[in-house]
């Protein structure tokens, strides 16, 4: 479904501009940083992007209904720690996966139910649950490194692995498959269309028979499950469980969604855009690292870029046009 026709500048938010941005950053990287575009470098970037990307898919669902999920870092951390701890204790992997996804979905569902039942701003609700989850997990692990990653998971997330004939790490393929499924969901199912409607106009959506509670719960549950999954995948990458591994993803997941062109107001955007946004973000970070910027300077540049990119294609309508 195409995005509605908007005044000139915002027509830019349609179509290929996100793709151009990714390509642009990439080309810039190739020109400026040596070894930026080597095969192994790209593979590594894609793996990093996939952790972010999986969480960003979940964040996109929430943003599409006009909310924001600040519990993403806590759930990533929780997923990471729980997976490492349980796997380290010898629990069979399928069970671990189910538990992690289940807990993530449960947490998300709670976010969704509380938000829709009391009509609360999701910013604060997810902040609160993040605090509760974070505290709980930290208590469980006493805030130390814990557990270990099963071998298959380490291979799964290794940049050097391939997936059958495809020269991409399995985690990357997983990410892209999930993204595709998610995009299919929002474009071609009734619930998916209802998500857009709810984000675009809550009152009208209710009169058009959209169950606000149901859709909100589903979106937050998806976000929770995907964040927890991302944490689980990170276990393979880091080799152990540490809660704080989720911290950078708070702003990164929002940034990926925003750079991708999904509006924080809801009702506009999509999953594919967030894929592109994640790629852009990772390419940018790699570029900055390649320029030998300290992590402090990286942060600052990242912040400026987010604002600049949004200025290109994420601006609100002028007051005169809204009257």
């Amino acid at each position: 479904m195409s995005v509605s026709e908007l005044p000139v500048k915002q027509v830019l938010s349609k179509g290929p501009i996100q793709l151009l941005t990714v390509v642009g950053v990439f080309v810039l990287g190739m020109l400026i940083v040596p070894d930026f575009a080597t095969f192994s470098s790209i593979q590594a970037m894609l793996v990093i992007a996939s952790f972010l990307g999986v969480a960003a898919i979940g964040q996109t669902f929430v943003v599409l209904i006009g909310g924001i999920d600040l519990s993403v870092p806590a759930l990533i951390g929780a997923g990471n720690v729980i997976a490492a701890r349980l796997a380290g204790n010898g629990m069979p992997s399928p069970v671990v996966i189910l538990i992690v996804l289940g807990l993530g979905a449960l947490c998300g569902a709670i976010n969704g139910i509380v938000t829709s039942l009391w009509k609360l701003p999701s910013l604060v609700v997810t902040l609160a649950t993040a605090s509760v989850v974070g505290g709980a997990v930290l208590l469980w692990t006493n805030a130390t490194l814990t557990g270990s990653a099963p071998q298959w998971l380490t291979t799964f997330t290794s940049a050097a692995s391939g997936t059958g004939p495809i020269p991409l790490a399995p985690v990357v393929v997983l990410w892209l498959v999930l993204a595709l499924l998610a995009q299919l969901f929002i474009l071609r199912t009734k619930s998916g269309r209802q998500i857009y409607l709810l984000g675009a106009n809550r009152e009208a959506a209710r009169l058009m028979l959209v169950s606000e509670r149901g859709i909100t719960t589903v979106c937050f549950a998806l976000s929770g499950a995907l964040a927890a999954l991302s944490g689980l995948l990170l276990t393979g990458f880091t080799g152990a469980g540490l809660f704080t591994v989720g911290d950078p993803y708070l702003f990164q997941s929002i940034a990926a969604v925003v750079i991708g062109g999904t509006s924080l107001l809801g009702g506009r955007g999509g999953i594919v855009r967030s894929v592109l946004g994640s790629l852009t973000l990772v390419a940018l970070t790699t570029l900055l690292i390649g320029l030998s910027l300290t992590s402090a300077a990286q942060q600052a540049v990242l912040g400026a870029v987010i604002v600049a990119v949004t200025a290109l294609y994420g601006r609100d309508r002028a007051l005169g046009d809204r009257i």
Partner: protein
């Protein structure tokens, strides 16, 4: 008096006032020494930055259109780091030079956010998110590692008058409140609230919405700068990474205080009391020797409870006659 208290029950401040009352009673019974003149300055020094940063988030939230200032935390960090890392070494650390510079720094940063929101028509979450990252980075670039050495007037502010009964750091809050009252008297707060309630109504009535938005964010920046001074008073040094954790606490304080995140309504005292509540929860739990990790859990739970209750109260307040819902 009774009537006023009864009215309070239906006011958006009801929850936070009750919470503060309960927490104060419990805290004081548990640790009576909290209010002792020896302890009071320490307690207040700890409290002041949190209160000020909550106040810093208030005008941006009031101004509506998703208004929020996520950069207040890092901004207070930058102010702290600027003072210790730049002004002092270059001999500008005296009260007469440092204070105006720092306040201007806060105001200008706020103005930049406000201008991007007002004229750039960017969403506040995005702008201030960018601001958060830029300012965190800047703080680390200016001062990669914590450094000691504050000017005399900062040490002075950490003390108190009347033998401990009036900690001097309170002065910072008093200044902020005075600025607010001044703006209120000039009608600026009313304009911020009107803009937050419906910016189109304000615009078509001749209100210069862009200026009002810039004012809101600039005021927030000013309060954040005061918070940065307060932080310097507290830690008596410069620390580039402490500021960040204040941001989310500020948002929580605003929500606890009964100010709707959508803007258009609210008070200054609400977020102040919200910050006080969060602070009292922490002191309560650490006073009871509960692990700081439990504090996180309780903090989140109390926040959830408070905002649910606030929401029930608010929906009763704004209930319109003769309109149903599906």
């Amino acid at each position: 008096m009774i009537a006023k208290l009864a009215g309070l029950r239906r006011s958006p401040l009801a929850v936070v006032v009750t919470l503060v009352a309960i927490l104060l009673v419990v805290n004081i019974s548990l640790t009576p020494s909290m209010l002792a003149p020896a302890q009071l300055p320490n307690t207040l020094n700890l409290l002041v930055p949190s209160v000020l940063v909550a106040m810093a988030s208030t005008p941006s939230v009031m101004s509506g259109r998703g208004g929020i200032d996520l950069s207040v935390g890092p901004l207070l960090g930058v102010v702290n780091v600027f003072l210790v890392g730049l002004l002092v070494p270059y001999g500008l650390g005296g009260a007469g030079t440092a204070i105006p510079i720092l306040l201007v720094l806060g105001i200008v940063t706020g103005l930049v956010s406000g201008a991007l929101v007002a004229f750039g028509r960017l969403q506040p979450v995005v702008v201030t998110l960018g601001g958060y990252l830029v300012l965190s980075g800047v703080a680390l670039v200016v001062m990669p590692q914590p450094v000691g050495g504050v000017p005399d007037w900062v040490s002075y502010l950490s003390g108190s008058w009347f033998g401990g009964y009036l900690p001097r750091s309170v002065l910072l809050v008093v200044v902020a409140v005075a600025v607010w009252l001044f703006l209120k008297r000039r009608g600026a707060i009313g304009l911020i609230l009107a803009t937050g309630s419906d910016d189109r109504a304000a615009h078509t009535s001749g209100v210069r919405v862009s200026r009002v938005l810039c004012l809101a964010y600039a005021t927030g920046g000013l309060f954040a700068a005061l918070a940065g001074i307060g932080l310097s008073v507290l830690i008596q040094s410069g620390d580039p990474s402490i500021g960040k954790q204040y941001t989310l606490a500020a948002v929580a304080a605003v929500a606890l205080g009964g100010n709707p995140l959508g803007g258009g309504r609210g008070t200054l005292i609400g977020p102040m009391l919200g910050a006080l509540s969060l602070f009292l929860i922490q002191t309560l739990l650490s006073g009871a020797h509960v692990s700081s990790l439990w504090i996180q859990v309780v903090y989140g739970a109390v926040l959830l409870f408070a905002i649910c209750t606030n929401s029930s109260i608010a929906s009763r307040l704004t209930a319109r006659p003769a309109l149903g819902s599906p």
